[in-house]
Amino acid sequence: RQNILSPHGCKFLEAPHNRVTNSTKQDKNGISNGTLYKKTFIEHFEQAPMYVAVLTFLGFGVGTVFGYLRDFMRAWGLEKRNVATEREQQKDFVPLYQDFENFYTRNLYMRIRDNWNRPICSVPGPQFDLMERVTDDYNWTFRFTGRTIKNVINMGSYNYLGFAETDVNALKTVTIELQKYGTGICSTRQEMGTLDKHIELEKLVANFLGVEDAMVFGMGFATNSMNIPALVGKGCLILSDELNHTSLVLGARLSGATIRIFKHNNMQSLEKLLRDAIIYGQPRSRRAWRKIIILVEGIYSMEGSIVRLPEIVSLKKKYKAYLYLDEAHSIGAVGATGRGVVEYFGMSPDDVDVLMGTFTKSFGAAGGYIAGRKDLVDFLRTHSHSAVYATSMCPPVAEQIIRAMKCLMGLDGTTQGLQRVRQLGKNTRYFRRRLHEMGFIIYGNDDSPVVPLLLYMPGKIGAFARRMLEKNIGVVVVGFPATPITESRARFCVSAAHTREMLNTVLNALDELGDFLQLKYSRYSKSSHPELYEETRLELED
């Protein structure tokens, strides 16, 4: 059971299994402590049979060989060069890009480039309109035909609660604020950029999360990359999960602290790192660490797994570390009333030192926040890079967040918010259950609205996305380097705005395509009595 090929583990050499707490088997995330969880925590990371790995590597090998062939032909003028080139006057400068760095981009990515950056021309709701785009020279350039593909089912946008809408009533307050405030701020928070709207929003966010205070920022990515350096510096230790988002990695690197990585969601690995850090101190000088901070995400967007929060909190309390929780995907999407993983596990928000999240996904706006105790937020108001040098959030966007949050909290007088959260939960569970039954390999937790469907082979990436578009369904496919090289996947984002009919359309299309492209790798036998599986899991409690 050695991990031979990649740090993520060559899972093809292990037998297939699921990971279930409360009755746990040994798995890649170690033995978990089931007694801390109030409800079953079921995550699947099934491995595909061995031949899939072989064929995947074969596929990449063929692509690489052809890549070398084409490069050779281009270098010798046998094939036309389509890439932009350096200026004549600057030909003797040091070359800006190394040829081999771009090998993958030129030869493999370019072949299936039409599946990304697809432009849309409507609101990114449960259905959207795509601009029709064709290529005359095998994806080197695109041109728009002028037609739009209408009512494509949207399985790619992060619209978990369906707040990306253009309903006039819903956007009434946003329209008013846009007319009143305009779109710009032209100043930073500490100079002349703090508007009364920001104060209102911050109070509401703090109220929503159940913490003392909160601060909002104009961009979610920048929230991480500009605040982690303010919280930790040299002499501190950051323990970061293997699969953390680029913004967390960038923030950790910019802070100058020492970074150590623990295996994804693996509590044994984390505990070992914590113990070694406290016992042996800083490397070489053996001084004690100034502070230790653990960086984790609520839902990991490429895996669909949920963080093991109860265990991390117990570890953090035992070893006196601090916890930074990035709830970009989980705020609004999990939890009985949409308050994120903290509520999902039935824990108190005081257990987490720094609650961070973004408004892009569940609230249909833009920006990020950090919430916690008042002294933390006061410190960030004075020392965050964003407060001093970056523009504050724009008022119409702030108003959109306010109205979405009020809807979620029920402050607008309706139960629409709670209905959306419940609908999302239902849609998620239905979608995942049906995909399991069909025999696809799906990663992640049963309650996570992010559903990665494994494709493995590079050739299937392009084929899958293009054929789904022909059936009028827009999907997101991801390959290397965002995922390990053998685990390319299609990632679905379930939304509360999806109706049962839309989900069934998608599922039927997936069924057909799965048979055609032979994507049903799962070795679990499909149930011949699907009615026995009807909603036996825990329902959302009132």
Binding site: A84, T85, E86, F93, V94, P95, L96, T105, P119, I120, P124, N154, G156, S157, N159, F163, T166, L171, V174, L178, G182, G184, I185, S187, E191, G193, T194, L195, D196, G218, F221, S225, L231, H245, S247, R253, R275, I279, A288, R290, K291, I293, K320, A321, Y322, T360, K361, F363, G364, A365, D375, L380, R381, H385, V388, Y389, A390, T391, P395, V397
Partner: protein, 475 residues
């Protein structure tokens, strides 16, 4: 074959014979040596660490004893940044700060487009069609037709091949620099570069060489030193990329960079130029195209121009423009582009409309420059305060002529000047910096921002009020 076989047999016979003929002590010595080798092969290795390994009890004690620092150090209640100005309503020409109506001399709304009706209606139309957020990064259905249109328009306006938009101004240059400059490359940067550039450089992990602000001789000296280094190791020099990062109009000092000399140095020493035009876009040049138009330089000579849309265009976000060869690379390796949600369409629509206004009214740039000259002249000769910045720069600094010795006291004095002005109806602000994070911390100053909407009476009023304030506070 037979001869070889015979040869082998012959050697074997010789060996056996030698064995019988050897003296006894020789055989015994050999036997002892062989037994010793066998023993060494099978004994356990000798580990030095065995002695200093901790017992479980000691480890538990260490874990018990360790006390971390508090997560955040306590912040004093009277910290200036905690008592920030709260603006009620839009930060337009007449701004309501802390409940009091003032004339706005603090927001970077140079062309007055924040309040423009056409811009707002374009944004409203976009809101009706697209909603607010884009719910995804550019690669995953976050590319809207407004983004593509804005990129085309910006490229056409700046007369470059291609432009790329970011959803946040700070992230623009902070993502652009690390996309090209990696570990081992060399970047020459001005001392007065803004914080976003510093963060971009830190993320790139390249070798940073600072040269004195606007000092071409210092820069040339550094370039010459690098040349001699190169001659020692030509192989390494052939793969080390070199860049120069300068700003068109410096935010921290209000002056412009000497671009013609920089271009000469570029070709002489083979260094690429990255130009940051956040303050000069929409301000300098006959049509507002920035410092390249101001000096009449061919825009292809600059490798990358980066600007944010948060000043003149009164929107949110930023863009980079240049040749396709350079800009296209950021679409896969610009972190703030690939891993972040795209710009909300209503802000992109507002930016397009603002660009339209800029193109239709090219005389506003001349008007703005005239106002800047006017107030620059009017602010000369205030006792105790000196004006820092070019005469046509719309963002000036007022620094204390003589520092009191400690930065804290300077800040307090300037605060009193600002408060005096605020109480009399002119909204000003101090320039804020993170004292511990800046590489070269500028001295404390008051920021004076001139916009096209300010009338001449207001400019004169501001100047005279500042004179009064300086008189009463500093004397």
């Amino acid at each position: 074959m037979a001869a070889a076989g015979a040869g082998q047999q012959w050697v074997l016979v010789e060996m056996v014979q030698a064995f019988y003929e050897a003296p006894a002590y020789h055989l015994i010595l050999e036997g002892i040596l062989i037994l010793w080798i066998i023993r060494l092969l099978f004994s356990k290795t000798y580990k030095l660490q065995e002695r200093s390994d901790l017992t479980l009890k000691e480890k538990e004690e260490l874990i018990e004893e360790w006390q971390p620092e508090p997560l955040v150090p306590p912040v004093p209640k009277d910290h200036p940044a905690l008592n920030y100005n709260i603006v009620s309503g839009p930060p337009t020409h007449i701004i309501t700060v802390n409940g009091k109506e003032c004339i706005n001399f603090a927001s970077f709304n140079f062309l007055g487009l924040l309040d423009n009706e056409k811009v707002k209606s374009a944004a409203q139309a976009s809101l009706k069609k697209y909603g607010v957020g884009t719910c995804g990064p550019r690669g995953f259905y976050g590319t809207f037709d407004v983004h593509l249109e804005l990129e085309e328009r910006l490229a056409k306006f700046m007369r470059t091949e291609e432009a790329i938009i970011y959803s946040y101004g700070f992230a623009t240059i902070a993502s652009a620099i690390p996309a090209y400059s990696k570990r081992g490359d060399i970047v020459f940067v001005d001392e007065a570069a803004c914080f976003a550039i510093q963060k971009g450089l830190q993320a790139s992990r390249s070798n940073i060489k600072l040269f004195k602000h606007n000092d071409m001789a210092d820069l040339e000296r550094l370039l010459k030193e690098q040349e001699t280094e190169d001659q020692k190791n030509p192989r390494k020099a052939r793969v080390t990329r070199r860049f120069m990062v300068v700003e068109g109009l410096y935010m921290n000092t209000g002056d412009i960079c000497p671009l013609p000399e920089l271009i000469k140095l570029k070709y002489k020493y083979k260094v690429r130029i990255f130009l940051e035009e956040s303050l000069s876009f929409g301000v300098l040049g006959e049509h507002g195209r920035g410092i390249t138009e101001h000096f009449g330089i061919n825009i292809d000579d600059i490798d990358l121009i980066s600007a944010n849309m948060e000043n003149s265009l009164a929107s949110i976000g930023g863009f980079c423009c240049g040749r396709s060869f350079i800009i296209d690379h950021q679409r896969l390796s610009g972190q703030g582009y690939c891993f972040s949600a795209s710009l909300p369409p209503l802000l992109a629509a507002a930016a397009i409309e603002a660009l339209n206004i800029m193109e239709d009214n090219p005389d506003i740039f001349q008007t703005l420059r005239a106002k800047c000259e006017r107030i620059h002249k009017a602010l000369q000769g205030i006792s105790g305060l000196k004006v820092v910045g070019e005469s046509f720069s719309p963002a000036l600094h007022l620094q204390l002529e003589e520092s009191s010795g400690s930065r804290e006291n300077d800040v307090k004095l300037l605060k009193r000047v600002v408060d005096y002005c605020m109480n009399s109806g002119i909204a000003l602000t101090q320039a804020r910096y993170l004292e511990k994070e800046e590489k070269c911390l500028p001295p404390p100053s008051i920021r004076v921002v001139i916009t096209v909407e300010q009338t001449e009476q207001e400019l004169d009023k501001a100047a005279s009020l500042l004179k009064e304030a300086a008189q009463s506070v500093l004397n």
